[in-house]
Symmetry: C2
Subunit: 413 residues, 2 copies
């Protein structure tokens, strides 16, 4: 069960004009459910992506990067996305890339577009050959099912260890016109900034030119998906794609300094943050949702490094699971992640509203029962003040439970 997250009602995910979705069962694993998703995008749609930094990136990520390369495809026109769950097509070498291209070619043939206008995505077990025949064979069923109102079914088809489908929608007034933003995301383990085992797709009917869309995708990933971490492992397949169909009756947004950009950015960011937090709330075995905010650093990178140090410490995460205000483990994690010149005697931190460490030592006012009260909650805020600058950073994470071990020890069986 996710922490304080109710999955969207199937009809709460708003259709985006120009986007149709269809699913099918390719039976890649023994699941009794759909595991292939086809997304058809109307002509004129631009797309931009942010992908994993893992050096062993998966074949579909390599193919996505090629198909979105600004040098070769400056307009970033994309007509379809094709997803499968159950096999990541990662660690599969040149054969894996050929398989991903083959899937794109099959989709292109079915929809009547060019193969480079198709983006492939895979999630699941790594280092096993992609069952490309099964996926291609399932495409006609997915194509026949294409419809604008199938966002919920779409995200359900790409889940792996997720316990609930995750999606979000917003309506926004952009330049006097109501535009729609809808996004979906999957992933609940191997989740870490830059990016998660995470596939996220956010679409809008606003007309946004390729260059602006690329800048928005990068900026939004930085403040949403790249702030979410479950276990510190960055997957081979992480992909966040932002698509703009241009169907809304609005003049195209072609420059980042267009006065309509802030409203557009806000709606897209809200959807992305809601999805990113939902991934953490549904983190493998999660029983608590933690917001780790570090302020007062020299620069944002320092704050982020310390926030991640806390978020990734197995000792901190197990203490959160136990609702144990084990302050020492947080202090220890700060000390490990800090730069050599950090002065511990300037560092303070709070659990919720409770001052715990006051300039390097246990706060005189701190009482164990106050820490206990905060730790018993399902939502826990940790705030650290480094006392030497004005930069800040925030990450979201979850605790480390028995179920995390069970889920990850049993996943392949």
């Amino acid at each position: 069960m996710p922490v304080n997250y109710t999955p969207p009602a199937p009809d709460s995910l708003l259709p985006v004009a120009g986007v149709r979705l269809g699913t099918a069962a390719a039976r890649i694993k023994s699941w009794q459910r759909d595991d292939v998703l086809l997304v058809a995008l109307d002509e004129g749609t631009a797309a931009a992506g942010v992908f994993t930094k893992n050096r062993f990136c998966a074949a579909p990520v390599t193919v996505c990067r090629r198909h979105l390369a600004p040098a070769t495809h400056p307009d970033a026109r994309i007509r379809a996305l094709v997803y499968n769950a159950g096999n990541a097509n990662a660690g599969t070498g040149v054969a894996g890339i050929a398989d991903a291209e083959r899937t794109c070619a099959a989709v292109a043939g079915a929809l009547g577009c060019r193969p480079h206008e198709v983006l492939p995505f895979s999630t699941g077990v790594i280092m096993e050959p992609l069952p490309v025949e099964k996926i291609v064979a399932a495409l006609p069923v997915a194509q026949a099912a294409l419809a604008p109102d199938r966002w919920f079914a779409a995200v359900s088809a790409i889940m792996t260890t997720d316990t609930v489908p995750k999606g979000a929608s917003r309506r926004a007034d952009v330049g006097g016109v109501a535009v729609t933003v809808t996004g979906i995301a999957k992933g609940s383990g191997m989740i870490h900034p830059d990016m998660a085992t995470m596939l996220a797709f956010v679409a809008t009917d606003a007309p946004i030119a390729a260059g602006v869309l690329r800048a928005l995708a990068a900026d939004i990933a930085e403040v949403s998906f790249n702030c979410a971490t479950v276990d510190g492992d960055t997957s081979t397949n992480d992909s966040f794609v932002l698509a703009a169909t241009g169907k809304a009756p609005l003049a195209p947004i072609v420059r980042l300094d267009d006065p309509r950009v802030p409203a557009m950015r806000r709606a897209l960011t809200e959807v992305a943050i809601e999805l990113a937090q939902a991934l953490v709330r549904d983190g493998e075995g999660a029983t608590k949702f933690m917001t780790i905010a570090v302020e007062g650093g020299h620069d944002a990178a320092e704050c982020r490094r310390i926030a991640l140090g806390i978020a990734h410490s197995p000792l901190v995460k197990t203490a959160f699971f136990a609702s144990d205000p084990n302050l020492g483990r947080i202090v220890c994690a700060i000390g490990n992640a800090a730069a050599p010149d950090l002065d511990p005697s300037l560092v303070s931190f709070w659990l919720g509203d409770v001052l715990v460490v006051d300039r390097g030592g246990r706060a005189g006012s701190y009482r164990e029962e106050d820490g206990q009260r905060v730790m018993k909650g399902e939502e826990i805020a940790v705030r650290v003040a480094l006392g030497r600058g004005s930069a800040r950073a925030t990450v979201w994470t979850c605790d480390f439970s028995h179920d995390y071990v069970s889920i990850n020890a049993d996943y392949r069986s």
Copy 2:
């Protein structure tokens, strides 16, 4: 139960001339056992230490560093070590340092030496005031118990979540004279290079001058304790102290290029490696012992970073726990830790003697049952070849089990 580790028989830890050990029960926690250790060193003993790099280092570490500072104490003469379990005296600010100094002063008064000739060590819960009165009150009992043959009792008194006492001895021929090396260590969680929540003490009766001893301590830590990792958390208290009493009938070793140094180094290193591996074998919740060797890198730092990337991945560690040859998780961990310019198509790796990934892709010869056979063992070797240089590095780690979560969720209760 540790993985393939039998604790030393009480009489197998050889006395070291010039070292006497005594324990007492200060009742720092509700344990029904001794929790204070006093080590008395004969006049003329030199000592050197390697300590945690955690920025929030504990008060006793600060005091040890002062008492061993070459500028103030060039000869590194040390007459006593005093340890307590149950409280780490970390995150305790200036009061903690005063408490550690007060313990040293009490020991100095009892043994008739100077306070700066005493080194203090603490292990246990962080951020709670040290019950210094209890420790001081227990010293007379520990002093009355001082004897050369109490190494086993000594290490038993400083255990925390350790399940067995850990110690090792060697006899070595150094320049035609038989010298003795005996060491003890505690620690089973929060264990990570630079260093572990680990207190290790290794003594020899050989006469080794301060400068040589410092160089040996640093070198030996690098190839022993700094290669051991349980959970990636570096504690606030880690300390490795090497003492040379000079009681053996041997001319002093005053230079690193003395021809007797290699034999001396070998004996000390063997004891340190045996202790370091014992810490991992007794890692919290460990069911498997893994040796991760990375070769073919540009430099040792690159190899070490990738080895630690594999060793610290919760997904890899849970797969080892499940005896699951989940190759993808290892590939993923390599890809996360690798430098941006690493070429995945040159990378190969082996599980035991089984070639799994051959230059970037699954090896044609690989069969799941072969990987399964290796993973079912209690001792698992992972070897990674980066294919771009001649540097190498090795780390030892353990798996991540349900018991790790239980131990760390319940530790304070």
